[in-house]
Amino acid sequence: MGANAVTTVPVYVAGEVLTAADLNITNSGIPVFASSVERDAAFGGTGEKTLAEGQYAYLEDTNATQFYDGATWQPVGVAPGLVLVKTQTIGSAVATVTVSDAFSATYDAYKIIVSGGVGSASNNDFQMTLGASATGYYWSLIYTSYNSTVAGGGSSNSTNWAGFGSIDTSSLSLNIDLINPFAAKTTTFTSSQNRSTIAGTVAGNHQVSTSYTAFTLTAASGTMTGGTVRVYGYANS
């Protein structure tokens, strides 16, 4: 518990003699609690305020400021639309990185970002699978070789999604959006191709109506070292 944390929110009666300790409790303004456990225990007891609408609290464990709306504790301010779900640091010389417990019923849609790190080979990109599924992946890439000639590539009912992001000896880079990976429905994705020799837009789906909580990223060629995989959830409301 920090210096401002309290374990009670007192109420005083007429004629009561207030001590320095009594007054110091009010000096922090919004009462500070170690966690929601201490917060919930601080109201309604003997000599404590009855919890009522408009009460504020700060929680040290989550660094959150909250207010009580008369029924439940609510976050102060606008809830973020994009919430960091999981961060995974990539190890040394790994060909594949599996991130588990990334998808849940909390979010329908997700953004996955890979940054930092390096690849062992230049001018290649990422592949991706959901859970243990090795079939039903469809994807289509439209690109140019940094000129005006449009070309394309793709695959149907493949063993993975491919053709997105960039893996180079100087960096790893990926930005991909997924819809419905957790729902037992077709999962769709959109991403971009950003290799040193081509760039474009890639999209596709996974035509297997199964719920997945994990995904695996694979270097199309060589291995990856360092860098970070970040999974964000798009808030449903």
Partner: protein, 46 residues
């Protein structure tokens, strides 16, 4: 890249598989698939 070149570039004890925070060596089957992937890799658009 030939099979021999892939083996020379990526010795078995120098490539790994990662699951969350656990990085482990490849099984023989995983390594064989990895080497085949290097041999067969043709980047889209060159």
């Amino acid at each position: 890249m030939t099979y021999e070149e892939a083996i020379a570039m990526y010795p078995h004890d120098e490539v790994h598989v990662q699951v969350d925070d656990v990085v482990r060596p490849m099984t023989p089957a995983e390594y064989e698939a990895f080497i085949q992937q290097q041999v067969n890799y043709v980047p889209i658009g060159g």
